[in-house]
């Protein structure tokens, strides 16, 4: 093994380059919720990739947090920012402008990760929800351990996924699967995700990272230029749909339904905030 190792340690994510593989670890407790700070670190990672990724030719995403890969957007931060904005007396248009600005930034990150000129592998376990699912969908290959559950719970909040999830999921699997996941908000287990082709390899609990390392090692055996060309040939950015998604999200986010759903989520001290609301509560 080469002694050429490069490590960058952030508050919410870190990465290490060893040989020709960069391994990115999400490590923000409790469930790698993504807010402004994580976004800033993701932007640093993208800059690193754009700068050549230390010579790496494959990238692995993993999480060291027990709850799972990533539970998505930091809804508590979003809610508190919204409340603070309302209290400040500033306009709704300004608030939506801030949401749009955030979306532009996270879309730029997701698009860059999606089209990164190296083979990317997501090693997942536990919850892969909302924005976490959207992050996993930027990977070329998903390796899931049996504890993995994928979900787009956004409709429970009166929203659609806003970080490119639907255009990317539609690109990768059949539309009936997309509608099932999106319109019911249900979580889908790794077995099912494997059966529909979303997950490339299904492995036992705790085995996803080892398997992803094997996939990465295999992917780096080929001629680098050929691998890049092959990726470009088989993976395209659904740009028009991604822009449309941002518009829809900004249209929906101002609804009182969203405000109420976020408040319900944030103030829910019961055991089930990650499960769909029962009809009596909805």
């Amino acid at each position: 093994m080469s002694a050429d190792t490069h490590t960058v340690t952030g508050q919410h994510l870190s990465w290490t380059v060893a040989d020709t593989i960069v391994e990115v670890t999400l490590h923000r407790a409790p469930a790698n919720e993504i807010g402004l700070e994580t976004l800033a670190e993701l932007e640093q990672l993208v800059a690193f990739i754009n700068d050549g990724a230390g010579g790496a030719r494959a990238l692995i995403w993993t999480s060291s947090v027990k709850a799972g890969f990533c539970a998505g957007a930091d809804l508590r931060a979003l809610y508190h920012e919204w409340v603070a904005h309302e209290a400040s007396g500033r306009s709704e248009a300004e608030a939506i402008g801030r949401v749009r600005s955030f979306l532009d930034r996270i879309h730029a990150v997701m698009n860059a990760l999606d089209m990164a000129p190296l083979t990317t592998i997501a090693a997942t376990h536990g919850v892969v929800f909302g924005g976490g699912f959207e992050l996993a969908l930027t990977a070329d290959v998903i390796v899931a351990d049996k504890s993995t559950r994928f979900a787009f719970p956004e409709l429970r909040l009166g929203l659609i996924p806003g970080w490119g999830g639907i255009p990317r999921l539609s690109r990768d699997v059949g539309n009936a699967v997309v509608r099932d996941i999106l319109l019911t908000g249900r979580s889908v287990g790794a077995r099912r995700a494997h059966a529909v082709g979303l997950v490339s390899q299904l492995v036992g609990r705790g085995q996803a990272l080892d398997c992803a390392r094997q996939v990465a090692a295999q992917a780096t055996r080929f001629d680098p230029r050929t691998s890049r060309v092959a990726k470009r040939f088989t993976k395209h950015l659904p740009l028009a749909r991604l822009e449309e998604e941002k518009d829809i999200f900004c249209e929906l986010v101002a609804s009182p339904v969203v405000r109420e759903a976020l408040a319900r989520f944030v103030n829910d001290d019961g055991p089930m905030p990650y499960l769909p609301a029962a009809s009596a509560k909805a």
């Binding site: 539970a71 536990g126 019911t184 979580s187 077995r191 055991p271 499960l275």
Partner: protein, 81 residues
């Protein structure tokens, strides 16, 4: 192997006890599994995955809303077998 309705509860309790390191013999059908096992909704999803694998079925997670006892969870599974 076919699973009868009466078999579900003991299998469910065994799985839950193993997953969350409890004594299966101390768990009863009427127990609130959130309280008894000391788990949250994310951990409940972990149990859901175990159940889906073990019983070879899929349970939409909205069917777990309002379900708090092992008996009620066994009934949810029974409707899917």
């Amino acid at each position: 192997m076919a699973t009868s309705q009466s078999d579900i509860l003991p299998q469910l309790i065994t799985l839950a006890a193993k997953r969350f390191e409890h004594d299966a013999a101390a768990l009863k059908g009427g127990d609130d599994f959130f309280a008894t096992l000391g788990i949250d909704s994310l951990q409940a999803l972990d149990l859901l995955t175990d159940l889906e694998d073990h019983f070879d079925l899929e349970i939409p997670d909205w069917e777990l809303q309002g379900v708090t006892t092992f008996d009620a969870l066994a009934a949810v599974i029974g409707r899917r077998l």
